[in-house]
């Protein structure tokens, strides 16, 4: 069954139509990648799903409930959250405090401590740095903290916006390993990523956006072999549909 079903989603900023009626569905426990050149509308899509974008239209069903137009905190409390682009950890707060913030919306206080231990097991570097200001962490550590934060908010579905942005290749390896761990633990993931190969390595299914519309979609393995992808990215003249 689908955890997330997006139908005819449009996003407009004033007179700019950033997303023009797209359909996406994410199976429960699946990892779906949303690819496309910069400016294609990937981030706008995630923002709209999360209640961050004003001019969104269409239908977004999360576990069967239409959540479009809900304030973000309500969506989060229902079990879906986003790791925003650029990580956006609370720089003046310590690692520990960042993690505490993530649990504010939770009702099941009793299980928080256990969850926190699990998160530290998954991200040992955060345990080492738990008393440090988040702003003093390296980019990779901040990204791990952002993932850990989302995890601790007890989300079942995570939207990841460009988790590899600005990170060294080695660090990206670590982050992607963690993302695979999350999937293994049963989380459903929708990943926006500019690093196409890496994304396709771990995704089950992918959509390619260009100019606010979906130009390609299919199982990740198939897209990996497609030449059309390079065209969508590198601005080569488009062939008659791939």
């Amino acid at each position: 069954m689908s955890a997330l079903v997006v139908q005819d989603l449009g996003v407009a900023y004033g007179s700019v139509q950033a997303v023009r009626g797209i359909d996406i569905s994410v199976e429960r426990g699946g990892l779906v990648a949303l690819l496309g050149p910069n400016g294609a509308g990937k981030s706008s899509t995630l923002r709209a799903l999360m209640g961050w974008a004003r001019g969104a239209s269409g239908r977004v069903a999360f576990d069967g409930e239409d959540i479009l137009g809900w304030p973000p905190e309500r969506i989060v409390r229902r079990g879906m959250t986003m790791v925003p682009e650029g990580r956006r950890v609370f720089a003046d707060l310590t690692v520990d405090e960042n993690l505490v913030v993530a649990t504010v919306g939770r009702r099941d206080r009793a299980t928080i401590a256990a969850d926190r231990d699990q998160v530290f097991a998954l991200f040992p570097v955060l345990y080492e740095r738990r008393g440090q200001k988040a702003g003093s962490l390296s980019g990779g550590e901040q990204q791990q903290l952002a993932l850990a934060r989302a995890l601790l908010s007890a989300a079942r579905l995570l939207l990841l916006d460009e988790p590899s942005l600005g990170l060294a290749p080695k660090v990206v390896d670590t982050i992607f390993e963690r993302i695979v761990d999350l999937k293994r633990r049963g989380l459903t993931l929708l990943l926006v990523e500019q690093n196409v190969d890496r994304a396709l390595d771990i995704a089950d299914h992918a959509y390619v956006l260009a100019n606010g519309a979906i130009v390609m979609s299919g199982p990740a393995a198939e897209l990996r072999r497609s030449a059309g992808l390079a065209q969508a990215y590198l601005g080569l003249e488009r062939e008659s549909a791939a």
Binding site: M50, T81, R88, F90, E97, N98, V101, T103, G105, R149
Partner: protein
């Protein structure tokens, strides 16, 4: 000048600066969440003063009056957010400022009509009006209490902001409101809490103010809150530590001028205090602890 006199002035400065710091901190907490400089903060303070006055009037003990002041401050602040500021929450800073300006004017008239345009005396118990003598140092009981309570409040708030879930959530919301909501923090709740805290602080400040002056009037909050505004700006808009530092700085400047200004200039004390503090902005337009505006994006 003797050491005693100097110590005496330091105590005075701590007492006065502490009151400014409480007011400035309340303003800064609200500002950091929603970009509002609350012009009507002074009316929260006056309202809290009237809470104290009323409890004394009906013959209840002063201790209860303090509770009443704090509760009234909290109630007015939370109600003000809900009624006046929620409809304009996402408006420009200028629109927010003008809204609070109007609220301030309306509330002053309400106090004038519902209570009295004139000052109302508040009987302060003898225990509080006395003073202790330590060697050659005279310490007013209220003054001592105000220093102790202010420091206790600041310490308590530090614990609240560092140790409690709500406190940490508020710091998170102050640093990145949108992402805080991604953590499940309710926008309405956290802003109401910010106003609540600012109201409690204004209530405490009102208690000290009234206890030292023995009366409460509709315009009581205006001047101290004006100075708190300036403390907030000088400390660096949106920086909580900056606001507290700015408040104490203002207290020291004001007491310093009061103590050392030649007699023929004493009349200009308020003016000189404000001018000196505003001049700090020439050197640091973003305030003492303000961050530069430059950023990556």
């Amino acid at each position: 000048m003797t050491i005693e006199l100097l110590l005496q002035q330091v105590l005075n400065a701590l007492s006065l600066g502490g009151t400014y710091a409480l007011l400035a901190l309340g303003l800064a907490i609200v500002f950091s969440m929603m970009g509002l400089i609350n012009f009507a903060h002074g009316e929260i303070m006056s309202g809290a003063g009237y809470g104290l006055w009323f409890v004394i009037l009906v013959g209840l003990p002063f201790g209860l009056g303090i509770v009443a002041a704090v509760v009234t401050g909290l109630a007015i602040a939370v109600a003000m957010e809900k009624i006046a500021f929620r409809p304009v929450r996402s408006a420009s800073p200028a629109a927010l400022l003008l809204t609070s300006f109007a609220v301030s004017g309306i509330m002053q008239v309400l106090f004038q009509n519902l209570i009295s345009p004139k000052g109302r005396p508040v009987a302060v118990p003898d225990v509080l009006t006395g003073s202790w003598t330590l060697g050659t140092l005279h310490v007013g009981t209220i003054q001592a209490l105000s220093i102790i309570v202010t420091l206790a409040l600041l310490a308590g708030l530090t614990v609240f902001f560092r140790r409690t879930r709500m406190g940490i959530a508020m710091r998170a919301a102050a640093s990145d409101f949108d992402v805080a909501r991604l953590m499940g923090i309710r926008a309405n709740a956290v802003i109401a809490a910010a106003f609540g805290v600012s109201g409690v602080l204004a209530g405490a400040a009102a208690t000290f103010w009234v206890a030292q002056r023995g009366s409460v009037d509709p315009l009581m909050g205006f001047l101290p809150v004006l100075k708190a505004f300036i403390a907030v700006i000088v400390g660096g808009l949106g920086r909580l530590e900056g606001a507290v530092a700015g408040g104490f700085l203002l207290g020291f400047i004001e007491i310093g001028l009061r103590a050392f200004l030649p007699d023929d200039l004493v009349a200009y004390r308020e003016a000189l205090t404000l001018a000196l503090v505003i001049l700090i902005l020439v050197l640091r337009p973003r305030g003492l602890m303000g961050r530069a505006r430059e950023s990556v994006r």
